[in-house]
């Protein structure tokens, strides 16, 4: 079965407009993060305590908040998860300035105890079950942040070098631009949703980057091949041709992935939910970024440095 005949869409005609559009989304995100503190570090990166509880009798977010406010913990982040009305996730946000880290850890622990006590009221573990409890000290939070950044940067450098060797330097540069945009735009949209950043979210981001680089390389591979076949064509024409030739594949692959993620989003339960959500944004973005960032960057780079068009290998 064929989705459609190879079309002739002149994708590259709109490259400047597309670049501006991307820039605006990224800027909006950066602004939202920088000015309105849109990105909330979760317990993994921000430190503090995250408690997941299950009530025997259904309750409401507002009631939980009031119960906590009564004991002076009104600032806690409360999120309903999983079974409607029964399961909640509470993160204490009080900044504790202790003399040393150990005291800070213990203070976090005591806060968690107070949260549980307040919610239990005079009921016991039957009334409220604590399903998980995670405390991350300030030092580890900082370390996790540092290590995640470090790992990502090294991974990007590794990809840049490989692509530069297998293709050309400008393709590697374009890939890095693309991935940076993927991360920025996805985070930008994520920042408007009020969800927190935790380690699984970083894994999701890396997966998005993985899909996007896969997409980008498939197109670049086709460009590499077509450059050898049609030596007289301009690079822009070759890119248009390659994008059109690969369009069927792009649609089918992305469509499959999108469906898969939709399944995860619907059936995955609360732990996978955030993850699937950010992935859904990311897959759409990844396809877009291949067409309207990877390719334009290569074209602009070649114009800028006046290298000969296409491949000469």
């Amino acid at each position: 079965m064929e989705l459609f005949k190879t079309p002739h869409i002149r994708f590259m005609k709109h490259k400047v407009v597309a670049l501006f559009a991307s820039a605006i989304i990224v800027l909006a995100g950066v602004l939202n993060v920088a000015v309105f503190h849109g990105l909330k570090p979760g317990v993994d990166f921000g430190g503090g305590t995250l408690i997941r509880v299950e009530f025997k009798d259904p309750t409401f977010v507002d009631r939980v908040r009031k119960q906590l406010a009564d004991v002076g913990l009104g600032g806690s982040v409360i999120q309903e998860t999983g079974k409607k009305g029964h399961e909640y996730q509470i993160r204490t946000t009080q900044v504790i300035k202790g003399a040393d880290q150990q005291q800070e850890m213990e203070a976090h622990e005591r806060l968690a105890d107070r949260v549980i006590e307040a919610l239990r009221g005079n009921g016991g573990p039957d009334k409220l079950k604590v399903t998980s409890r995670e405390t991350v000290g300030p030092q580890v939070g900082k370390d996790l942040r540092k290590k995640a950044t470090q790992a990502t940067i090294w991974a990007l450098i590794g990809m840049l070098i490989y692509i530069a060797i297998r293709f050309k330097l400008e393709y590697g540069v374009a890939a890095i631009f693309t991935l940076t945009q993927d991360v920025l735009i996805t985070m930008s949209i994520y920042s408007f949703t009020n969800r927190e950043i935790n380690l699984p979210i970083i894994a999701a981001l890396l997966t998005i980057v993985g899909f996007s680089i896969n997409d980008t390389i498939v197109i670049f591979d086709r460009v590499r091949e077509n450059s050898k076949l049609y030596r007289k064509e301009s690079l822009e024409e070759i890119m248009n041709l390659s994008l059109n030739q690969c369009l069927g594949r792009t649609m089918i692959t992305s469509g499959t992935v999108f469906l898969t993620l939709l399944a995860l989003y619907v059936f995955g339960g609360e732990v996978i939910n955030d993850f699937a959500f950010i992935m859904l944004i990311g897959t759409i973005e990844g396809v877009y970024s291949t067409v309207y960032l990877s390719c334009p960057v290569v074209i602009f780079w070649q114009k800028l440095f006046k290298t000969k068009k296409g491949f000469r290998r």
């Binding site: 079965m1 380690l199 692959t253």
Partner: protein
């Protein structure tokens, strides 16, 4: 069947068989991470400075003894800071002799004479060795304690220079385990000179308001009902190192207690101390806190009992930590996570359901689009997942939530590889190639794209594995395995199926 094809078929089946063998039954072979199984995850820091401090204290004592034995005069020896101490009142005329003596005795310390002061500083290299040993010993001691406590498949691992990661699957009572790990377990018996008293002043009144040099003030452990302060001798009569055996028992009122016996060297000292001090209190001190201070009723030689208002559990835990030995340095917690078993089980169930639905969707999709060729892709996809789990079983890798993300990405890329190949075959058919050569060209032309995209992602995953922490590592592992398996299934196995299923003379290709 064509030659060579048989061998390829055998190879593919062998890989399938081996993978099933390695992954079946999955409940036993595939290790689930704490986020999926429930349990406790702790990160602790070893206060390595403690080890240097202890070494400094001991070295001061040894030097004092050495100097006394060799008639080298000095007034006092004091510790400046961990790793540095000063002898005052030394005489210049003995400098040569002192130098010879020190050089003969140890090379671990740098020293210098300034006036009548002799300053010792520990060598940086020695400090590093001490700290390193302290961390390794701590890992061993904690492992001992956990083993005796009885946890299936605990993970106790050094991380970096002074951190230790402890993962205890299935354990859900963090407080008890934390206390068990954290207690330094330095047990000492010291003679009580005065006390208990409400404050330090009362204690030292007898000594002119100052703590004499051979004594120290210790606090009682309020949890054990000893709230006051004690003035005790600085040198311990007997310590935990002299223990030969400890076990939980009861005292004469049937309260939980810990009975012990001493080795011959310890027994000799204990006999002397108790014999000379009948009627006086002897403090039992754990980690610098007085547990109880019973009066010595009679000369005791090699065995006795420790009382301290224990619960049964506390007495058991004390036995456990005394058996496993003292920690060489203090520790503190940096991170602790307790995941309840129900949450983990929910995650697994939901993850499995979601994964199953997702895979079924993908398969339906592929068969719908590519008909029989789609079925080929489905076979390759199943084989990919089987190999992935086989490898997870073989490498004893842990499957975590982010690990599932890695599997999703590798499945996505596996589908993409098949789509690339099939689209390419269609293109070749469209320009009029016959079926066998269209298949051959489809695979060879799509190969560079598949190879480059998989390898790029593998490269990035290797860096993530190298530099990332726990969850990110789990992600990288499944991704690397999945993509390597993908290169095998999507390119090799899928091609093989075409070769076997499509005869050379085929007129139609279901794609």
């Amino acid at each position: 069947m064509r030659k060579g094809l048989q061998w390829k078929l055998i190879l593919a089946l062998a890989v399938l068989g081996l993978s099933i063998f390695l992954a079946y039954p999955p409940k036993e072979k595939i290790k689930l991470g704490l986020d999926l199984k429930g349990g406790i995850h702790l990160v602790l820091q070893v206060l390595t400075e403690d080890a240097v401090n202890a070494e400094t204290d001991q070295e001061i004592l040894r030097f004092q003894e050495l100097f006394k034995k060799n008639d080298i005069t000095f007034q006092a020896a004091t510790k400046d800071q961990p790793g540095r101490f000063v002898f005052t009142g030394t005489s210049a005329s003995q400098e040569g002799k002192t130098r010879d003596l020190i050089d003969q005795y140890t090379r671990d310390w740098d020293y210098s004479f300034t006036g009548d002061r002799l300053i010792f500083t520990i060598k940086t290299l020695v400090t590093q060795v001490l700290k390193d040993q302290a961390v390794n010993q701590t890992v061993e001691t904690i492992r001992n304690r956990i083993d005796q406590f009885g946890v299936a498949e605990p993970l106790i691992q050094r991380q970096g220079s002074e951190r230790i990661v402890v993962e205890l699957p299935g354990v859900t009572d963090p407080d008890r385990v934390k206390d068990l790990i954290k207690v330094t377990a330095v047990l000492e018996w010291k003679l009580v000179k005065a006390g208990p008293a409400a404050d330090e002043e009362t204690l030292t009144k007898e000594y002119g308001g100052k703590v004499p040099e051979d004594m120290e003030v210790l606090k009682g452990d309020p949890k054990k009902g000893e709230a006051g302060f004690f003035l005790v001798s600085r040198v311990a009569s007997v310590t935990g190192k002299d223990l030969r055996m400890v076990r939980r028992s009861v005292d004469e009122w049937n309260n939980p207690a810990v009975s012990f016996s001493l080795n011959s060297e310890g027994a000799r000292r204990f006999e002397k101390v108790t014999g000379e001090n009948i009627g006086k209190p002897l403090a039992i001190i754990l980690d610098g806190k007085v547990q109880s201070a019973p009066n010595i009723n009679a000369r005791i030689s090699d065995s006795g009992i420790i009382q301290g208002r224990f619960t049964v559990e506390q007495a058991e835990d004390l036995v456990l930590v005394l058996k496993s030995g003292a920690l060489p340095a203090g520790i503190r917690y940096l991170e602790e996570r307790t995941i309840g078993p129900s949450l983990g089980a929910d995650s697994v169930r939901e993850g499995l359901l979601a994964g199953l639905v997702a895979i079924l969707l993908v398969m339906t999709f592929m068969v719908f689009f590519y008909r029989l060729s789609g079925l080929n892709a489905v076979v390759a996809l199943i084989l990919n997942v089987v190999i992935l789990f086989g490898c997870l079983g073989y490498f004893k890798a842990t499957l975590t939530l982010p690990g599932i993300a890695g599997i999703i990405l590798s499945i996505g890329m596996a589908v993409d590889a098949n789509v690339l190949i099939f689209e390419r075959i269609k293109e070749e058919r469209a320009v009029g190639k016959n079926i066998p050569s269209a298949i051959l060209l489809g695979f060879s032309r799509a190969f560079s794209a598949i190879f480059d995209s998989n390898l790029t992602t593998i490269i990035s995953a290797i860096f993530l594995f190298q530099f990332g922490t726990g969850p990110i590592k789990g992600y990288a592992v499944t991704l690397i395995i999945g993509l390597v398996a993908n290169m095998f299934t999507a390119v090799f196995v899928s091609h093989l199926i075409f070769d076997v299923a499509v005869p050379k003379s085929a007129k139609r290709l279901s794609i």
